[in-house]
């Protein structure tokens, strides 16, 4: 677009009082050669009318020197075909100047923000949405249990075509073996007849749903909007099975014959199977497997016939009256053990969540149903019946034949006649217990299918499985509290037991939500926009491959596995897997990756636009590259609270610290700036980065650049990463001051003026 740029400076909100507006306008009109107007309240109707008038006369790019870009976004949006760039004079300069501010320093700050904004306006372009050549809107649901059936039905009811792939020979999953199900609705106090049969019928008769039983996914290649799935008969091997990830070093060893190729006999991960089926997105609902609890020797599972798991007990109960496995005697007493840890540990069995408490209550009711004289003992450390399920617990409490107590179970012994002796301490009776029972039921957990197998079987360069599973004990869960469907694999949404041990009621909601996300991903791809967290973003990374050296850093570092390799070994972007964080752009040493409105040249030019005095040792210049989602709002809020921010620092907001390219650091230091600090999110296991790895990658890169700086005779301490949360508005001034003090200690950049 041929740009016609005009700048506007607002003098409201204290800006006019704090700054020499005339001088500031001259910087814009003179140095930056951009016509500049001022207004006492740019966001007012009159202010916007002034800008609208100029737009009518041909201005198409406006520079707004006023408040933070986080506010007044609608007011300064002049349409999709206009560019609007903001210089944050209010929060980043005037409101954080402090009462004793030196007017000269403040003026210099403001001038730099106007220079940067004018440069940004010059370098930025209107985004053009990325469009797939053809898009497939069908949804693949992996797993035919409650979660998969629900997701399929809900998506189909919204008008989408769905295919369910179920490994076993029948739909229904675990639920087909239930005698009864836990309450799913008010009044939450009684067991319900299983609804799985009805659910299966609805699915089988739905015109939008195709069901494939006895079938597994060998691999899924491609990207949202055009996934290509290869199926196979359950339990068989296929040349299209998803290949394991092979790193560059491993490939070397394989090539030298020093390592066995894990993918021998398999099709290359980039090979496209002509016989595959196309889909737009995937719901992963492959569920769980009952945990093996035979390792708890004092409880006797696997050794004593009458000690069974909850899953085994349910299967028995669904077939008829419950009898003792050893001799078929109808049971008269059953002990349900919730916690295996004896005196040392009061946790439930692993992989439990609250479901197992509820299942124990349900099964205790089965014992009573079969024989009103029978006794059920539920021995727990903590009864987990959260929320409305408390009302179900109360039903069990009201049954005299169900004996519930906190208890530390120390052992289960076979008495030789088929009956068992359960020993427990620390009970609510204030005495130790010895229970003589016919059977013991252990509350074994629900291990997600992703625990031991890749399951989703993606033919991605980064490997076939979800990443970071170890953070969630193998569950395909999200790290984000507020965004439970976000993982590192765009277009794949997990639900049900594969994500968490859940009740049927929770699973139904979870699966319906996953169906929504699968639909939303498809519709976003269709519109050519990004999904969460930059939802609606029309920009996408563009690559200038002629200069690519195939170093593969972008491919390796992309948190979302968006890049594969093409047949020549050049990175192959899958744009609809991309979340637009710019980590690839930050990683690229050749600087060939960029977005229309956010690229290496643009930010680099903005940095170079900062005026660096080379004759004044007091006027050091520090660059701060700031995460736009957390640290930048924290700076805004610090300013709103009128905290003083160090006026030697210039802030530039970045999409994510992962997008920070090393060359920006070099740009800053070679133009004479004295230090660079990166303000980003907390990293580690409880990372807060919404692009997962951004701040962590930036930290690693800064360690590396430290070595480079050292070789140039510059102190590595001139560059640093600080972890800042959005709520750190009271402490962020000190974080910045401390860094500035360190730079003052080091003295001016020796390259200043060169």
């Amino acid at each position: 677009m041929d740009k016609n740029i005009r700048a506007y400076i607002c003098t409201g909100c204290g800006i006019g009082e704090a700054l020499d507006i005339e001088a500031l306008s001259e910087v814009v009109s003179g140095e930056m050669s951009t016509e500049c107007k001022t207004h006492e309240a740019l966001c007012s109707a009159a202010g916007r009318a002034m800008i609208d008038g100029d737009i009518n006369e041909g201005v198409n790019t406006v520079v707004i020197g006023a408040c933070s870009p986080r506010v007044m976004q609608d007011e300064f949006n002049f349409g999709d075909d206009k560019i609007s760039v903001r210089a944050n004079l209010r929060e980043n300069v005037v409101w954080c100047a402090g009462e004793d501010a030196d007017a000269e320093y403040v003026q210099e700050q403001a001038a730099d923000y106007m220079r940067m904004a004018c440069t940004q306006a010059d370098k930025t372009e209107l985004p053009e949405a990325f469009q797939l050549e053809s898009i497939n809107k069908r949804i693949l649901v992996m797993g035919g249990g409650i979660a998969g059936l629900t997701a399929a039905l809900e998506a189909a009811d919204a008008g989408y075509e769905v295919e369910i792939v179920e490994k076993s020979d029948a739909l229904g999953g675990k639920a087909v073996n239930w005698r009864k199900q836990l309450p799913t609705r008010a009044p939450w106090n009684d067991l319900e007849e299983p609804s799985i049969g009805d659910l299966i019928k609805q699915v089988e008769s739905h015109s939008n749903i195709v069901v494939k039983t006895g079938t597994e996914v060998a691999r899924i290649s491609g990207e949202p909007g055009e996934y290509l799935a290869t199926f196979k008969a359950s339990g068989t091997k296929s040349e299209w099975d998803a290949p394991a990830k092979v790193g560059v070093d491993e490939q070397d060893l394989i090539d030298k014959g020093e390592m066995e190729d894990p993918n021998a006999g398999l099709q290359h991960y980039m090979a496209a199977n002509e016989a595959g089926e196309k889909f737009g997105s995937v719901v992963l609902a492959t569920g769980w497997i009952p945990a093996d609890v035979s390792g708890y020797e004092h409880l006797g599972h696997g050794k004593i016939a009458n000690v069974v798991t909850n899953a085994q007990f349910e299967a028995m109960a669904s077939k008829g009256k419950i009898t003792r496995p050893s001799d078929g005697k109808p049971v008269e007493s059953v002990a349900f053990i919730q916690s295996p840890g004896g005196e040392e540990d009061d946790k439930d069995f692993p992989y439990c969540n609250s479901v197992t408490s509820l299942v124990a209550l349900k099964q205790a009711m089965f014992v009573r149903e079969d024989n009103p004289e029978a006794k059920a003992y539920v021995l727990y450390q903590h009864m987990r019946t959260p929320g409305q399920m408390e009302l179900f617990y109360k039903t069990a409490q009201n049954d005299d034949g169900i004996f519930l107590t906190k208890a530390t179970v120390t052992g289960v012994e076979d008495k030789g006649d088929g009956s068992l002796m359960v020993a427990a301490r620390n009970t609510l009776l204030n005495e130790d217990l010895l229970l003589d029972v016919d059977m013991v039921v252990l509350a074994a957990g629900m291990v997600p299918t992703t625990h031991d197998e890749a399951t989703i079987n993606l033919a991605y360069r980064q490997g076939p499985a979800f990443l970071d599973l170890e953070l969630f004990d193998g569950y395909a869960d999200s790290n984000f509290i507020c965004f439970p469907y976000e993982t590192r694999r765009t277009g794949v949404y997990a639900c049900g037991g594969v994500r968490k041990a859940t009740t049927m009621e929770e699973t139904v909601d979870d699966a319906t939500g996953a169906a929504l996300k699968a639909i939303q991903c498809i519709e976003s791809v269709d519109r050519g926009v990004a999904v969460h967290p930059r939802s609606g973003d029309k920009t996408y990374p563009e690559f200038f491959f002629q200069r690519c050296t195939q170093c593969k850093r972008c491919t390796e570092e992309c948190p979302f596995g968006a890049l594969d390799d093409d047949e020549k070994g050049t990175p192959k972007p899958n744009y609809t897997r991309c979340r637009r964080c710019g980590t690839c752009m930050g990683a690229c040493p050749e600087r060939i990756i960029g977005f229309k409105d956010y690229n290496v040249d643009m930010i680099g030019s903005m940095i170079k636009a900062i005026e660096v005095p080379d004759d004044d040792d007091d006027k050091l210049r520090i660059l701060a590259l700031v995460c736009e989602n957390d640290a930048y709002p924290a700076l805004d809020m610090a300013a709103m609270r009128r905290h003083k921010l160090n006026n030697l620092v210039r802030f530039i907001s970045v999409r994510c610290l992962g997008s920070v390219n090393m060359v920006w650091i070099k740009d800053a230091l070679s133009s004479g700036m004295d230090g660079v600090v990166l303000l980003g999110c907390k990293f580690g296991d409880d990372y807060q980065c919404h692009f997962v790895k951004g701040s962590e990658l930036a930290d690693r890169r800064m360690e590396n650049i430290g070595e480079t700086l050292g070789s140039l005779g510059l102190e590595p301490e001139r560059v640093a990463v600080r972890q800042v949360a959005i709520t750190d508005y009271d402490t962020i001034p000190e974080v910045i001051n401390e860094f500035v003090e360190e730079i003052i200690e080091l003295g001016p950049n020796p390259f200043k003026g060169f």
């Binding site: 609608d74 809900e154 609250s354 009970t427 509290i481 507020c482 909601d509 699966a511």
Partner: protein
């Protein structure tokens, strides 16, 4: 985002409530392509989670996710937001509801730049409801630091109409004569994400919250620990600002109790454990006692409980608290019976935190709008009619569960609009 200045279209989804559940339902539907209206009673979006210091178990600030959600709203022209607005009447039937909404006067219009000059001029104070009355704001005020929309508001009950704010406002943003405004929306379905209120702890007669300032609710504790709270994030005893040396957390304060809330409020066990981490951060030696019936920290939350395993100053006592007695030094004595040993426990502490539960906010109003409610005031979804409950309006739940069922609600709303 488009606001009330633009005319609403027909056939959209109405989301009642702009907390995390309403925001989630609205955004997830809008990002599929649906037109969505959000009405929110407060002058800001974010609801209860905006008042939380951190989320469990990650201990991350809720404003981080809210910032993303607000950005999603700003960037999505399918969403219209009506703060300070309540639903007055619902008529029509599935697929076509006419909903009358009423916006209370904010007395501050869209010209507000957030410059704060009005606050400096205002002579009147009001109790800060956002901080549960632990401090005050001026009668004209910014709802809180991270408020969205970032516009000020006048509390009519506190304002003396002196006009000083009008004089200092350079932007003609204050309209003392602003009147309530009604309008009717035509929608195909309604997501009720009306959320919850903390159970009124003054009803807990044996725990006597009125007898001492050393007895606070868990939500007050969130504000005391929050950087934007009344004490700048320093946990101090209300009234005398003492740095507490000992704490009692009293679980199920109202929940799992036939006389109050018969259900479990789901979040309180984890919330208290989370709050112990706030205490630990500021007072490494403080003594903490937790009185509980069951510790409901299932699944991955057990790992969170592990962090107190080796903390010799954190004690868990299984037992319901029978009484709290105010002491002359400003502290209180908590009296309970240990359910396992049978011993009577008397614990004297500087601050007692009642883990008060959640009460559905639509409890009293819901039936008026033709909603089906259960005995406890939670809304029962009727997806077929396009009347859908989400978040804690549906059941007591944590943030993750609320976000899940609100995402589900978005799909049910879309189905209703496509039928």
């Amino acid at each position: 985002m488009t606001d009330e200045r633009s005319a609403p279209g027909a056939g959209g989804v109405l989301v009642v409530g702009g907390g995390i559940s309403g925001l989630t339902a609205a955004l997830e539907a809008a990002e599929v392509g649906q037109d969505v209206f959000i009405v929110e009673r407060n002058p800001y979006l974010g609801g209860r989670v905006a008042q939380l210091n951190k989320y469990f178990p990650k201990l991350c600030p809720p404003s981080c996710g809210l910032e993303i959600n607000f950005k999603r709203i700003k960037n999505n022209r399918r969403i219209r937001v009506y703060p300070m607005t309540e639903v007055k009447q619902v008529s029509g039937s599935a697929g076509s509801y006419q909903v009358t909404i009423e916006t209370a006067p904010r007395f501050v219009n869209n010209n507000c730049t957030g410059c704060n000059a009005c606050v400096e001029a205002c002579p009147e104070d009001r109790s800060n409801t956002f901080n549960f009355g632990l401090d005050t704001t001026k009668a004209i005020y910014k709802p809180h630091d991270h408020a969205f929309p970032m516009k000020y508001v006048i509390d009519a009950d506190a304002c003396n109409k002196c006009g000083k704010c009008v004089e200092v406002c350079k932007y003609d943003a204050i309209e003392m004569d602003m009147a309530p405004k009604s309008m009717t929306l035509e929608v195909s379905s309604i997501v009720w994400a009306t959320g919850w209120n903390p159970y009124d702890f003054n009803k807990l007669e044996n725990l006597k919250p009125e007898s001492s300032k050393a007895i606070i609710s868990n939500m007050m504790m969130e504000r005391l620990a929050a950087p934007g709270g009344p004490t700048g994030g320093k946990i101090l005893r209300p009234g005398d600002n003492k740095e507490p040396e000992s704490f009692a957390f009293i679980q199920c304060a109202g929940s799992r109790d036939e006389n109050h809330l018969e259900y479990c409020s789901y979040i309180c066990c984890m919330a208290s454990l989370k709050q112990i981490t706030y205490v630990r951060e500021q007072y490494p030696e403080a003594k903490v006692t937790v009185f509980y019936i069951d510790l409901r920290t299932p699944g991955k939350y057990e790992n969170f409980r592990d962090r107190f395993k080796d903390d010799g100053n954190v004690h868990f006592v299984k037992g319901k608290v029978a009484d709290i007695v105010a002491n002359d030094d400003g502290g209180v004595t908590v009296i309970a019976e240990n359910a396992v040993t049978g011993d009577k426990v008397r614990e004297t502490v500087d601050l007692a935190v009642l883990a008060t539960g959640m009460e559905p906010a639509a409890k009293s109003a819901g039936a008026v709008h033709g909603l089906t409610m259960d005995d406890n005031g939670f809304i029962i979804s009727d997806a077929g009619r396009g009347m859908i409950a989400a978040g804690c309006a549906k059941k007591a739940a944590d943030v993750v569960t609320s976000a899940q069922n609100s995402t589900a609600a978005a799909l049910q709303a879309i189905q209703a609009s496509r039928r």
